[in-house]
Amino acid sequence: MDRKITYKLVFIGAPGSGKSTCIGAVSDIPVVSTDVACTDGLASIKETTTVALDYGEMSLGDGERLLLYGLPGQSRFTFMFDTVAENLAGVVMLIDASSAAPLEGLEETLRTYAGRIGETPFVAAINKVQGNVDALREQVAETLRRHGLVGPVIVVDARRREDMALIFDLVFLCAEYSDV
């Protein structure tokens, strides 16, 4: 069996920010999913929630592959980060622009993964965008700075492979040019 070069990318973000949808949209293989029906107030937003991880793979050409891990959005599942943390290429923080309070979701994510995000190159990706989000982009950057984090803040449609490739390029740029 060929041993291909692989890179691990982890998606984090508030419940409903689009992690499972994103991995499902760009994965070359059927996504490994661990969704169960919600039993709490989240049920008013979506029927199911990820309780362990989503897993997909995406070809980068030349035999290189991107391994995509989507983690649960709720803080009680923080331990799942440790199960995928080894040899991590980077972290993608998804921010749901369509949410009533996108910054609250970001704050919750930053609190949940405090101490972990700063150890790995990361990209903050504003997803589910309708209209102009310049102000939100600035607020996201400001929120990151308040948490002692500096990294690219971009607007994406996380269902598009091109956007995924952009995220991957940025993660590698961060790894190359930062102290992380």
Binding site: G16, T39, V51, A52, Q74, R76
Partner: protein
Amino acid sequence: MSDRQKHIPVLLPTPDRRQCEMALDELVARNVDGISLALLAYRDGHPYLFRGKELQNAGKLAAMASSMAALSGTMLREIDSDSGEMTLLQGKKGKIIIVQVPAANNLMLLAVHTTEEVNLGLLLAHTKSCVTKVAASFGAAQAGQP
């Protein structure tokens, strides 16, 4: 939706809490030596109640049980389209068994921790008996409603 908010099941069947407590008490205190903990949790990782040794963070254990059960089920489905009913973890110092409660569309899970000397057959039998009682308590709770 923050985890800091109290878990409030929305329009879901509820078990009879007293009967669940009795079932867990019986499992932990009376039936099998070596069972140190029994935890009843919702399928999406919220704790419901536990018996046995003091837990620093029941919420984390409930979430872990939910993750393990989901991963086991996913792996079984990958191989032969089966769904997971039970997950067994065996370490040097003990075992953990996680079983779905066959009621209310598998709303709940029971996680049981034991020391290493526990007989596996006995553990399975008593755990399944406990789960059956918890499942029956859903019917009791509905019957008791006005």
